[in-house]
Amino acid sequence: MAPAQSASAPTAPEGATPEGRTVLDARDISRALTRISHEILERNKGLQHLVLLGIPTRGVHLAQRVADRIAKVEGAQVPLGTLDITMYRDDLRKHPARGPHHTVMPPGGVDGKVVVLVDDVLFSGRTVRAALDAMNDLGRPATVRLAVLVDRGHRELPIRADHVGKNLPSARTERVMVRLEESDGYDEVRIAPMEGLEA
């Protein structure tokens, strides 16, 4: 298959990493998020007890976009929060200490709620495990679900996503890079061979 180079959709600006290929462009991402938003509502049968928690950094932007779409459909705001997992990672000891991100409790908390965790890429599942631990210290949700933009496989833990934007078969030696308008200036999901670094 030829590399998907759509001429009409906005793509990476000049000078951005040229290697690899684009898997999702801005429109694909937008469509995927719209579908995920509808799936979440359908599964939950509306807004009742629904809470979105984004995992920093890009999961927070995605959660915000999903919340905006849900607001458009339902005409009401879904409680939105962010959940930092830095201190709950199982590889904390393997790197120099990094500063934690912000955790924002959604209005109304998480006790008894249907919490949908939102992240950009699902890979080993270790981030989600850490997020579940972090949530334990915030409260006791009735249900926890997981929405991700990309599921690239290679799970190391018994974890799965409930809502997936794109299933992306990948090799362990490849990198999957999600770029979002809010943090990077443009929307794109790209897959590229690893240049000797661990993801």
């Binding site: 201190m87 000891r93 210290d137």
Partner: protein, 311 residues
């Protein structure tokens, strides 16, 4: 960040920013119902206190516990130190138990630096004699920054027993790093010898006249009159000290109404600070205490959570 925190010289401006950012997150954790993070699970921190302390020791203890570290307190009273064991032997004994972090307070200047050469553990200086008290300076600056937005170009007056104050020494270094202008106010007998040359190097001013400094200050730090370090007569009477250098009700009225008042504690109410000032709306004393836990969590996290801990 360096391996140990012995002096404010060990942290760069970027380190301070990282420590403050983490402290702000820790501050949020303090408001949660479950005040526990797993970052230091399996690590052991020993508080080795050879001098009396309530807030520093208990805030290091709480900070360590909220990060899930095992925290052990050893104080000079009731330990082998009172049987005559040397500092080196005490440190080696504790270190031999497999300790990851040592928080040390000692009456001798340079004790923490000395200890860091005897052990592989991370050493945090919690006050060494009349030398430094870096976590106090960090929490003071953090408190002021939260109150005032920034310390850049702000005028901070540090008032009181400067000679005996490790809090002052750490603070003057840190505030200069963060771009504040510092004026040090003390009676001539409590101004350190050779301060003029030093003040030129470090970029702070000195004054003997509190009343001329106060109206211009954006923040005031009162220092405790350290009776335990005063063997000679530094001032004729407590009353006289208060008249010249205490933050009295009358002086409070000359201060800018939004200028924060800091005191490292414990306060000698009526001596260096009047109750009106200590309990005023602009007093930041209790903020300092809660910031103390957040800053110490941040320091423990950055020095002990990562790989090898030293970078």
């Amino acid at each position: 960040m360096r391996k140990h925190l012995l002096s404010i010289d060990d942290v760069s401006v970027a380190d301070v920013e990282a420590l403050f950012d983490t402290a702000a997150e820790m501050h949020d954790v303090q408001r949660r119902s479950v005040k526990k993070l797993p970052a230091l699970r399996g690590r052991t921190v020993v508080n080795l206190f050879f001098e009396d302390s309530t807030r520093t020791r208990s805030s290091f203890e709480i900070a360590g516990k909220w990060l899930s570290a095992d925290v052990i307190n050893v104080s000079a009273k009731g330990s082998s130190v009172s049987k005559g064991e040397s500092l080196r032997d005490t440190v080696l004994t504790v270190a031999a138990m497999g300790v990851d972090g040592l928080v040390i307070r000692h009456a001798a200047s340079g004790a923490a630096q000395q200890v860091s050469q005897w052990t592989d553990a991370v050493v945090i200086n919690a006050g060494d004699g009349m030398h430094e008290h870096p976590t106090q300076a960090l929490l003071d600056a953090y408190t002021l920054q939260r109150r005032m937005g920034t310390l850049e170009d702000k005028h901070v007056a540090i008032v009181g027993d400067v000679t005996h104050s490790r809090v002052f020494r750490s603070n003057v270094l840190l505030l200069a790093k963060l771009g504040a202008h510092v004026t040090v106010v003390a009676p001539p007998t409590l101004m350190p010898a050779g301060v003029t040359a030093w003040s030129k190097d470090a970029g702070f001013e000195t004054s003997y006249d509190l009343d001329s400094v106060l109206p211009d200050a954006d923040a005031v730090m009162m220092l405790r009159v350290q009776r335990e370090r005063m063997n000679g007569a530094y001032f004729p009477s407590a009353r006289e000290y208060t008249v010249g250098y205490g933050l009295t009700r009358d002086r409070l009225a000359t201060l800018k109404p939004d200028a924060p008042i800091c005191h490292p504690g414990p306060m000698n109410r009526g001596l260096e600070i009047a109750a009106d000032a200590a309990d005023a709306a602009q007093s930041a004393v209790l903020d300092q205490v809660s910031a103390g836990v957040a800053i110490r969590m941040s320091v423990l996290y950055h020095l002990l959570a990562g790989e090898g801990s030293a970078t």
